[in-house]
């Protein structure tokens, strides 16, 4: 008798078997080859009762530190923003979290309308014309954008900036590695920006030029210039995003010539949750609609003209087109998209701007402090949003270690990703960082 399995009760099973003219459960499994049978019980821990389970997970969770306990200057693709309490109450509606992909539209209008709203939010924010209803995460979304650029252009080569998030680049590599596709890396200048000059070397056969803005160093890339370059070569400009909150202030990719925008939506109401589930965002110019991966909700009506929503353009997708689909994606991150929709609904136009401004102000304050302190400097002079690279002239590791003891995560050391920046850390200041923490950070990093 298990509490999740009503018919695990012997009484119920007897009734059911009798109705089927059977005597015992085993009769249903007679066709399973004996050679494949699991003979001994699975070697797994004995079941925990609910109270013990809660204690066990409580204990595990306490073996983790968290951003409540530490002042965290960590960003790098995962941002600690305040999540309004109302949001989780929406996500905990059974109707949202225990339903499936809305294939049966009439009985799934809640999910469908929310998807339609999400797509609209993404279009408004990115300045693009169409958006899908989610991808797995920022990295895989960007990788799929490159595959799409190749489909659209019929070309096999993409140029990816080294200032794109290193993990995203690693994912792109993995997705592109079929022996046929070619990936070239564009280095960055001492301004922390992609060196676009290199693009001209690949004029004739580039499918896409790929920048991230703000890039991994927090710097805003020169997207307009990049767009001109890309388009002049017949390539698409693909813009990656890791911190979408920047779109509360910064001109969006769609207004700067981007053809595809793809990236991460975690900042919009998703908990850090040790890296996932997050939210892949995917948007494009309208002309590329039918090459897009992922599910899309569309408005339609019933025979009485009443507006409703359905999944549409399914001929792009695996369940209809199988090997000719634009992607293999099926289950995506729908509930995360709902979280983002709710988050954006709560913030609204002014809220989003104000929050972005607050992030900008905290980061500016921290930058200003850094600039004035001895032994630390801003590595790149370029404007940034809420993240930036700090060079620490000596003893970086020891200082970071000492800050850790003070319950401060000083930022992300860049050495593992950029050997040439081995004296640098990537520092992120969101609205959750206090002025006091900034002072402690700068003091801890500065020369004594």
């Amino acid at each position: 008798m298990m509490r999740y399995i009503p018919n695990s009760s012997p009484t119920s099973q007897r009734k059911m078997l009798r109705a089927m003219g059977l005597n015992e459960l085993e009769q249903l499994f007679e066709n399973l080859p004996d050679s494949l049978r699991q003979k001994s019980p699975l070697d797994l821990p004995a079941p925990l009762n609910e109270s013990a389970l809660v204690s066990h997970f409580g204990a595990l969770s306490e073996h983790n530190a968290n951003v409540h306990e530490y002042a965290s200057f960590l960003g790098g693709g995962a941002y600690y923003h305040y999540i309004p309490a109302a949001l989780d109450h929406i996500l905990l509606r059974s109707e949202f979290y225990t339903s499936y992909t809305p294939y049966q539209a009439e009985i799934s209008q809640g999910t469908l309308q929310a998807m339609f709203e999400f797509q609209t939010y993404i279009c408004e924010l990115t300045g693009m014309e169409v958006a899908n209803s989610s991808m797995y995460d920022g990295a895989s979304s960007l990788a799929e954008a490159l595959l799409m650029a190749m489909r659209v252009t019929g070309r096999k080569k993409v140029a990816v900036s080294r200032a794109v998030h290193p993990h995203y680049r690693r994912v792109i590599e993995t997705y592109l590695d079929d022996g046929d596709k070619q990936l070239i890396e564009l280095s960055f200048t001492d301004d922390g920006l992609t060196d676009l000059a290199q693009v001209s070397n690949h004029r004739s056969d580039l499918a896409a030029l790929v920048l991230q803005s703000p890039n991994f160093f927090g710097c805003f890339e020169e997207l307009s210039a990049a767009a001109s370059l890309a388009h002049a070569s017949g390539a698409l400009l693909v813009v990656g995003i890791t911190e979408p909150l920047s779109l509360g202030l910064a001109k969006p990719p769609g207004h700067l010539g981007a053809d595809l925008a793809a990236g991460e939506g975690q900042s919009f109401g998703l908990p850090l949750s040790f890296g996932g589930p997050y939210l892949g965002i995917f948007a494009a110019k309208g002309e590329y609609l039918r090459s897009m991966p992922g599910r899309i909700a569309g408005q339609t009506c019933d025979d009485k003209g009443r507006t409703g929503y359905v999944l549409t353009l399914g001929t792009r997708e695996q369940h209809i087109r199988r090997e000719q689909a634009t992607s293999n994606i099926c289950t995506n991150q729908a509930l995360c998209a709902l979280a983002a929709t709710t988050y954006l609904a709560l913030l609204g136009k002014e809220g989003l701007r104000e929050l972005a401004l607050l992030n900008l102000a905290k980061a500016k304050y921290c930058r200003d402090q850094i600039e004035q302190a001895p032994g630390v400097e801003l590595r790149f002079p370029t404007p940034t949003f809420n993240e930036f690279v700090v060079r620490v002239t000596s003893d970086l590791e020891r200082k970071v270690g000492r800050l850790l003891e003070q319950r401060i995560w000083a930022g992300l050391p860049l050495a593992p990703f950029y050997p040439e920046l081995d004296d640098c850390i990537l520092v992120c200041c969101t609205e959750m960082i206090s002025q006091e923490a900034i002072h402690l950070l700068v003091e801890g990093l500065a020369e004594k």
């Binding site: 983790n64 929310a114 609209t120 507006t307 199988r322 090997e323 995506n332």
Partner: protein, 484 residues
């Protein structure tokens, strides 16, 4: 009279406010103080609502959805089982939900141990040797699997270009092949609905990198020739990928490891009860035999001196497919589920899932055509063959079920059955709930005969009648626009 809820962009009013931001403790600035003008945008045109309005909007939307928490959700292949509430609570413990992926690993031992223990548990359940938890869903698991197959063939010095896929396979299988540069070759299953080893042996040659098999297959039938099939593939140097979407039928009963398959994915959002969320997030861990382990994605979990660590030091790895470590909180819920059930409980899941499916099948075969009458596993297929006589099709039956308060089954899949209705009740449904569903299906069968237009015109009791999908695709309106 139920009111249709407007699109959120039509709600609210200027200068309304649904947020409450942390206070400014640094000097207030304007954007221009920190950023050059040409970088700045006009504010995005987002609606402004109070919290009250936002909550009401989404609560109203939620009420237009059907869900597992309301009743039977018999979507074949989707395993719409009950999502235990305690797991939702556990995922929200701040030690998990507030943990940053970049925080020091020595301060993340709880999460890492959990992932480690889940890997072990999944290896045991599947009878495989090593596991990656990184893929975000089944399809990404397939992708990773195909990448690994590509990599091992490369390492063997003989890249291949084809993958065999039975005609009953899910659409993600061929799509995953294309994504990895393989040509998907469809092979036929037998009239009995299973794949024959003979058929495989016939097409198998050295150009074939792998076979993708689903077992039990999407007809709900156990691929009883699986051992011979694997042998046939292996003989020609191919690998066998198991689509584990239907693992819910065989937990603790049959060991995939013994079938001879080389690698497989597991859909945690199916078999291991993590909520589907209206289409995700899920998780699609991949379990492999030892030979393939070196190819697993990085980072991998390693244990050193009692400390858990994420290591990238695996030179043969296919690489990375997600920015961080996969859908962590989904993994957490699946692990909690496994710990709650234990070995006996997992076995019971499959026993009861199969019991429930057969119980329903035996009853419904009296009213509907049952193309494969053999005992089924966790799901079975009906068709509209009998109802077609009255002009009633599968889609009509599906829509009519909504009037009876049920979500329809998966329809028109698998493709090998015309007008398929793919019914998977899962172990979460009581026999009373199965009876309720059967009564509805039986009533519809009667209606099809006596009053076909009633069925053809369904649904009748929802705020909408049937929504026009053709129109949606022909005139795509994919975002709200002001005064259209």
């Amino acid at each position: 009279m139920k009111v249709i809820e407007p699109v959120i962009f039509e709600l609210g009013d200027q200068d309304r406010k649904g947020y409450s931001l942390p206070a400014w403790d640094v000097p207030r600035i304007e954007a221009e103080d920190a950023l050059p003008k040409e970088l700045l945008r006009e504010p995005a045109r987002l609606p402004q609502l109070s919290e009250t309005e936002v909550v009401r909007h989404f609560i109203r939307l939620s009420k237009m959805n059907y869900s597992v928490d309301e009743g039977l959700y018999p979507l074949g292949s989707c395993t719409m089982k009950y999502n235990p509430k305690v797991n939702e609570d556990l995922a929200r413990l701040p030690g998990f939900s507030m943990a940053h992926p970049w925080q020091p690993q020595q301060l993340s031992q709880g999460s890492l141990k959990l992932m480690h223990d889940l890997e072990l548990a999944l290896a045991e359940i599947t009878g495989m040797d090593a596991v990656t938890l990184q893929p975000a869903a089944g399809a990404q698991g397939e992708l990773v699997g195909m990448m690994m197959i590509r990599a091992i063939h490369r390492d063997r010095g003989k890249p291949r270009d084809k993958v065999l896929i039975p005609d009953t396979a899910h659409g993600t299988n061929p799509a995953s092949c294309t994504l990895t540069g393989y040509q998907a070759v469809t092979i036929k299953s037998s009239p009995a609905g299973i794949l024959q080893a003979e058929t495989v042996a016939e097409v198998m040659d050295e150009s074939v990198a792998a076979l993708m098999l689903t077992n039990p297959n999407t007809l709900g039938l156990f691929e009883s020739e699986v051992e011979d099939i694997c042998r046939a593939v292996h003989e020609k140097g191919g690998l066998v990928y198991l689509d584990g979407a239907n693992l819910n039928a065989i937990l603790g009963l049959v060991s995939p490891g013994k079938m001879g398959v080389d690698l497989m994915h597991i859909n945690l959002h199916k078999t291991f009860s993590t909520p589907h969320g209206g289409g995700g997030p899920g998780a699609g861990p991949v379990a492999v035999k030892a030979e393939l382990a070196p190819y697993l994605p990085i980072p991998r979990l390693v244990q050193e001196d009692g400390q858990y660590q994420l290591s990238e030091d695996f030179p043969s790895s296919v690489g990375r497919v997600m920015a961080f470590y996969g859908n962590f909180s989904v993994l957490l819920k699946a692990y909690a589920y496994i710990l709650s059930l234990g070995p006996e409980g997992l076995k019971t899941i499959s026993q009861v899932a199969v019991l429930n499916a057969n119980y329903l099948k035996e009853r419904l075969r009296k009213s509907y055509h049952l193309p494969y009458p053999a005992p089924c596993m966790h799901e079975f297929i009906l068709s509209d063959k009998l109802q077609l006589t009255f002009g009633v099709r599968t889609r009509d039956i599906a829509k009519r079920l909504m009037d009876y308060g049920f979500h329809p089954p998966t329809i028109y899949f698998p493709l090998v059955v015309a007008g398929a209705m793919m019914i998977e009740p899962t172990e979460s449904d009581s026999f009373q709930e199965l009876d309720r569903f059967a009564q509805a299906m039986e009533a519809i069968a009667r209606e099809a005969q006596e009053d076909p237009d009633l069925v053809i015109g369904a649904p009748h009791s929802l705020p909408f009648s049937r929504l026009d999908e053709v129109r949606a695709a022909r005139l795509p309106r994919l975002r709200w626009k002001p005064e259209e």
